[in-house]
Symmetry: C2
Subunit: 220 residues, 2 copies
Amino acid sequence: MATRTRRPERREDALSRTRIVAAAVELLDVTGEGGLTFRALAAHLRTGPGAIYWHVANKDELLTAGTDAVLAGAMATDVAGDTPQDAIRSLALGVFDAIDAHPWAGTQLTRTPSQPSVLRLFERIGQQLRALDVPAAAQFSSASALLNYILGVAGQNAALARSQEPGTDRAAVLEAASANLDADEFPFTRSVAGQLRDHDDREQFLAGIDLVLAGIAGLQ
Amino acid sequence: MATRTRRPERREDALSRTRIVAAAVELLDVTGEGGLTFRALAAHLRTGPGAIYWHVANKDELLTAGTDAVLAGAMATDVAGDTPQDAIRSLALGVFDAIDAHPWAGTQLTRTPSQPSVLRLFERIGQQLRALDVPAAAQFSSASALLNYILGVAGQNAALARSQEPGTDRAAVLEAASANLDADEFPFTRSVAGQLRDHDDREQFLAGIDLVLAGIAGLQ
DNA sequence: ACCTGAACACCGTTCAAGT
DNA sequence: ACCTGAACACCGTTCAAGT
C-alpha cells in the first residue's frame, strides 16, 4: 500500500484564509457593506466567530483582502501592446468596472491608506507616465492626480450604491433631485441635470481621465 | 414693569441643533472619527443620549451637518475678482484646508451621496466653467472631473489622518514605507519616493487641479 | 415641548475550553 | 494547530416616564 502524505486530508469545508475572504466578498456583494459581520460570516461558514480570528486579524484585514481579491483582475490587465494613454485608460476602466460590480470595495479603497491595490495601481500608472516621457519632476504629481481622480470616482460610486437599492436608475434619481434645487442658487447644476438622462457613467469617467491625460500631455 | 417676551429665557446650556452640531465637531476634532458616540456627545452636553435625538434624526445627519458647518467657510469664498481658473483654485484650496483641519469631514464628504457641501462645490465649480466658456457639452464632465479629483484627495487625506497620530510627519512615514517595497515590482514608486521628502501636500494638490484645468483649456 | 436614562438589539473582539 | 461559543465591552437607537 502506497504511503499517504502525513498532511491531513483537506476537508472540503476546512477553514482557510482564502475561503474566509471569498465568503466575505460573497456576503458583501449580496448584502452590502452593512451585511458583513463576523457572526453572519461565521454562520455562512458553519462555524463560530472566534474561528475566523485564527486566520484573519480583524475586520479591516478582511475588507482589505476582499478589496484586493476583487481588484486583482483589474490590476493584472495586460497593457503590453497599448500606447501609454490607452494603457492608463484600460487600467482605470478595469478599476471602474471592479468597483461597479463591488461597490463596497470603492469605500475600502478610499478608506485605508496604502491599501495594497492602491499602491499597485499607482505603480502601474507611474510606469505608463514614464513611457510617456513625462518630465521626472512632474511624474509624481501626475500619477497622484490620476490616482486621486480614480479614487474619487470610486468613492462616489460606492456612496451612490450604498444609498440606493441595487438596480435603481441612478441618473433618474439624480435628475429628480436636481429638479428640486432652487433655480437661483443652483443654476449650473440645474442646467446640466438634463444631460444625466442619456449619460453613460463609464464614458463620463473616461472623459475625466482624458482631461487629466491632456493636461499631462501639455507638460511636454 | 415691562412685559417680558413669552418666549422662555434661553438658558446658556439649553440644547439646540446648533449647539449639538458644534459639540459634535469639537468632539470629532479632538478624538477623531471613532470618538463621536451619542454617549460621549451627551456627556459633553451634560444630558442623556436620548435628548440628542429630539434635535437630530441620527448619526448620519449629525455627520452631514458637521461637515457642512466645517465647509461653510470654504464654500463662501469670495471669488468675484478672480479669473475663473483662480476662482476654482481658491475654492479647491478652501476645501483642501478645511479637510486638512478636520480630516473626518473628508470621510463624510466621500461617504454620503449628495452631501449638501458637495452639491454646492459642484455648483460653484460649474459656474466658473461657464465663465471659462467651456463648451456646453463638456461642462458636466469637466465639473465632475474637478469634483472627483478634489473628493479623491479629501478621502486620501482623511484616510492618512485616520491611520496616524495627529502631527505625524506623513511624508516620512510614506517614504519609509516605500523603501520597503520590492524594487522589481515597484520601480516607479521607489524612484518617486524621494520627492516625498520636500514635497508640499498643498502644492501637489494644486498641481493636480492645474492638470485638469489645462486639459479643460485644451477643449477650446 | 423637551429631556431623562434605562433598555433593546445589535456590534467587534477575546478567551477558556475543547479536539 | 485549529475550532467552539459564551462572554465582554462597547455601539446606535427607542421609548416610557418625567418636567
